[in-house]
Structure formats: C-alpha cells, structure tokens
C-alpha cells in the first residue's frame, strides 16, 4: 500500500470512529430538541423539523434541577479541593525528601485505588448513620476527598519533580525558611500540576453515583448524577425527550470543563499512564 493510499485509509477509519463515538451524543441532542410528536418518528427525524427548546425550559425552570446542579458542583469542587490540599504535603515530601519506606508507602497509596467504593460504602453508611451525617453534605465530601487523594498525590509529586531544586536552594541562601519557600516559590511553580489534579478530581466526582446515592437521604441534597437516575425511573416512554434533555444537562458541564482544559488533562493522564 502506498503511503497516500494508507493516508486515505487512515482518514476513513478516523472518520468512522469519530462518527461512532459522536453518534450517541448526537442522538441525545436530537431527542432533546424534539417535540413529543417527532420523537415517535425515530431516526427518520434525526434533524427535527420543528426543533424546540421546551424540554430544556422544562428542566431548567424546574427549581429542583437547579438545586441538583448546584449540589453536584459544590460536592465535587469541595471534594476535589480537599483532596488537593491533603495530598500536597505528602507529594512535596515524596518529591523532596529521601527516607526509608518512601517507595512502599507511595505504592500503597496508589493501590488504594483498586478498592471498589462498593466495598467500603457498607461500613461507611453505618458510621455516617451513627454520626448523624446522612443529612449533610460533609460525609460525601469527605469520601470524595479520600477517593481523589491517591491520584492527586502522584500527579502533584510529578509536578514538584519538574521544579529544579536550585531555585529552592537559592531562596534558602537568601534566608527564606522552608515554609516560605514552599508558599512563595514551589507551590506557584507547581500550579499546573495542582490544577490538573483538581480538574481530574472534579470530573471523577461529577460521575460519582454510588457514594451520594447511599450517603445522602434528602432529595434536596442530591447531585445531578443521582437525580437523573431517579428521574429516569419516574418517567414513561412518552417523555423520552425530557429525559434526553435532563441527561444533556448532566453531561454538558463535564464536557465543557473537559474541552476547555483538555490540554492540561491529557498531559496529566499521559504522565500517569507512562508511570502505570
């Protein structure tokens, strides 16, 4: 096969793959823009003849969905932030100090990820119930922090590793203490790593279903991922278009965040992938 022909084959394969991966989302959008009458026309009306935003209006003016979105953002932002804050000191120590037991502890932190949340959620439910925390967001935020910590430690450590020690040594010669160096020099320079850890944690938290589903009892506290599951259970086929709009509302914030920050995210996953 000549390189030209192979290039064309590559393009065709690429287009087919792109279409396969885009199709489900395109169908979702198509359904969400239809009137009930057009939903019944199936694929023949892939591009709606009378597109409508009514389904989105219905979802977004329903006060409950606003609350679910707000809850989701609050839970994953605080969980992601907490994970980064907890992980940073450990990442710094792992990057800068040599000590016995460093290798095993770093591997142990990584391996925690292999434990399914499903295993730990059973006892956690009992603890939170006894502590009376099932009525508040704090239990879920705490668990999100723990889920985000392993990846954060490794990502942030990799970020610290790239900052030359000589910068810190120069500051030490100028009379800065360790914490001053950390606050003024090292942390600002590690900002990209901190940011990518935060964003990846946010995206993972956004997808979480099990933890909020089990650890939250009041409807007004639920994040969007749980809300669409409950909503799907409450609808009949005649409201497919509304469910599609609700799904889009749940999916779009994560997609937008991903698209906006994709360079950062891809670099972070690649760094992790090479290591793994």
């Amino acid at each position: 096969m000549s390189p030209r022909v192979a290039d064309i084959a590559t393009y065709i394969a690429g287009i087919v793959l792109a279409a396969l991966f885009l199709m489900p989302l395109a169908w979702l959008l198509s359904l969400a823009l239809r009137t009930p009458a057009e939903v019944y026309l199936g694929a023949a009306r892939f591009i709606p003849e009378a597109p409508t935003l009514d389904n989105f209006r219905l979802i977004l003016t329903d006060g409950a969905f606003g609350t679910y979105l707000y809850n989701a953002i609050k839970l994953c932002a605080l969980g992601a932030l907490g994970a980064v804050i907890l992980a940073t000191p450990a990442a710094y120590a792992a990057s800068r100090f040599q000590f016995r037991g460093k290798g095993p502890v770093m591997v142990a932190i990584l391996l925690v990820q292999m434990i399914s949340p499903l295993v730990v959620i059973i006892p956690l439910y009992r603890y939170m119930d006894r502590l009376g925390l099932l009525e508040s967001h704090s239990a879920v935020i705490g668990v999100y922090m723990a889920i985000g910590v392993p990846l954060s430690v490794w990502l942030i450590k990799t970020g610290f590793d790239t900052i030359p020690l000589s910068l810190e040594e120069a500051a030490a010669i100028d009379g800065c203490g360790r914490f001053e160096i950390l606050a003024r020099i090292t942390l600002p320079l590690a900002a990209p790593a901190l940011a990518s850890a935060f964003i990846l944690n946010m995206i993972m938290g956004w997808s979480q279903f099990l933890v909020p589903f089990i650890l939250l009892t009041r409807d007004g506290q639920l994040p969007i991922s749980v809300a669409i599951y409950n909503f799907a259970g409450s609808t009949s086929a005649s409201t497919t278009q509304v469910l599609a709009a609700a799904c889009l509302v749940a999916v779009v914030p994560a997609l937008v965040a991903f698209l906006a920050l994709q360079r950062l995210i891809v670099r972070a996953i690649m760094a992790g992938a090479v290591k793994g």
Binding site: G14, L25, W27, V39, V120, F258, A273, G276
Partner: protein, 290 residues
C-alpha cells in the same frame, strides 16, 4: 537524617483520610461478613452463615458467570478499540494528517460522561420502541427490529457495548503513550528490510508494547469489575438476572434486600478478586523495573 521521623508529618493528612475511609471500613467489612447484621439491625452474633448463604444461593452461579462474561468481553473490547485508535492516532501524527487531535478529543469526551448518563443514553439508542434509534435505522434499511435489551444474550452485548464506548479512552491514552515510546529506529530498520505493515505490527509493535498491554489488562479488569452504574441505568440487571454482575448484586443485596452480612461476604469476594489482580499488577511492575 534528622528528617527521617519528622517526614511522616507530611504524610499524616493523606494517611489519616485513607485510613478512615478505606482501611477501617475494609477491616469492618471483614468483620461484618462474619456477622448476622442487617442494614436495620445491629450485629447479634458471628459465624460463617453469611458466606454459606451467599455461596449456596442459586443466583450466585449465574452472577459469577455474568461477571466473567461481562468482564472478559469488556476487557477484550476496550483494549482492541483503544489500541486501534491509539495506533491510528500515532500514524496520523507521524504523517502530519489533519484532525487527529479532534479524534482524540471525541473519544475522550465519552470518557467524561457519568456512568449513569451513559446507561441512560444507550437505553435511548437501543430502545425497542418503534422509534428507538438503532431499531428505526434498521427498519429504514429493511431489517427487522432487534431485541437489544429484552433478550438475555443481546442485553449482555448491549451492556458491553455501552461500557466499551465509554471506557476505551483510558486504554487509548495508555497505548498512545506506550506506542510513542517505542524506538522509531526499529521501524526504520524493518522498513529497510522490506517488512510489511502487518509484519511490523506483529514483530515490533506488539512485543514492544507487551508491558503496556499487560498492565492495562489488569487495570481495565479491575475497573470493569467495579463498575455497575452503567448496567444499573441501562438494564437494571435484567432481563431477569441476565446482566446482573457481582458489583450490582452486592449493591442489591445490601441496599435493597438489607442483608448486610451476606452483602459484606460478597464484598469480601469482590475485594479478594481485586487484590489478586493487584498482586499480578505489582508483579508486572516489579518485573519491568528489574
């Protein structure tokens, strides 16, 4: 080495939260698995009844078979699709073709979608109502509708497809990084010797990426074993028990049947499988280092 002991202060926050959210509960699950507790009633005695009941249940065989089928098909699918896209991207990069970043972005976008939304999206696509996406396309080209979700075998395939669609991005990134790390000199030498593209794939790409493929198989297996939200939203485990995998079964046992002891015993089984796979993963990592 004055820092030797003080250094652990830096690790205190991480170790504390991981201890509270992972270590203590894992030990507690072990304890609960030997107890007769329910979600509503505390422990009143210990024994192996939970395990005996869990293993004697007629459903367990079906559940384990479903889990094996779902996991095996998913892992094969995830890796083949991930590898194909990764190799396509690398080829496009080398030849300076357009749109490769866009393809990568599109595949990764699926990965960002929450599992529950993924299940719901595929439910709409595979809906067996006359207006379901796939079935209405089939009807337009004269093929009778397929029972994607109500036929037991098809439902399993549908769950695998939904899982592969969403999860391939992870394998793609791992393989993309690994393929780019292969020394280009190997391909240049093969080119000079007149090796065909398929020969290069079999004799250079696959052997060079063996480590990445091994590691990725273990990681993807663990991820697949632990997922249940896509299946929960897509089929709810049905029809009957046709797509009920171990993780979904545990979820149902504890939170719908309120059987805490039995559910914990099953969770210990899941944990045991994950741990064994983790040991395999560690062994591979250690081997690669040395």
């Amino acid at each position: 080495m004055k820092e030797d002991r003080r250094v652990w202060i830096w690790f205190a926050p991480v170790l504390l939260i991981l201890g509270l959210v992972y270590l203590v509960p894992v030990l507690d699950v072990l304890r609960l698995s030997f107890s007769d507790a329910t979600l509503l009633r505390p422990v009143s005695g210990y024994g192996v009844d939970g395990y005996v009941a869990a293993f004697a249940a007629d459903s367990l065989g079906v559940i384990l078979r479903n889990t094996a089928v779902f996991t095996a098909l998913s892992v094969v699918g995830l890796q083949i699709v991930g590898l194909a896209i990764a190799l396509l991207l690398v080829r496009g990069d080398c030849r300076g073709l357009y749109g490769m970043t866009m393809l990568r972005t599109i595949v990764l976008a699926a990965w960002v979608i929450p599992g529950i939304a993924n299940g719901l999206i595929w439910q709409m696509l595979l809906s067996e109502a006359p207006f379901g996406a796939v079935n209405s396309v089939l009807r337009m080209i004269g093929i009778p509708p397929v029972a994607w979700l109500s036929d037991p075998v098809n439902a399993m395939m549908s769950a695998v497809i939904a899982n592969v669609w969403q999860g391939s991005a992870f394998s793609m990134i791992v393989f993309y990084a690994a393929r780019r790390a292969v020394d280009p000199v190997l391909y240049e030498a093969a080119e000079v010797d007149g090796a065909s593209a398929s020969a290069q794939f079999v004799f250079i790409t696959l052997p060079q990426m063996r480590g990445a493929i091994l590691v990725n198989s273990v990681l993807v297996t663990i991820q697949t074993l632990n997922t249940f939200d896509t299946i929960l939203a897509l089929t709810g485990g049905g029809p009957g028990r046709a797509t009920e995998v171990l993780s979904l079964y545990i979820f149902n046992t504890v939170f719908y049947a309120y059987d805490l002891g039995g559910g914990s015993a099953l969770a210990v089984v899941l944990l045991g499988i994950s741990m064994m796979l983790t040991l395999v993963y560690l062994a591979i990592l250690v081997r690669r280092r040395t």
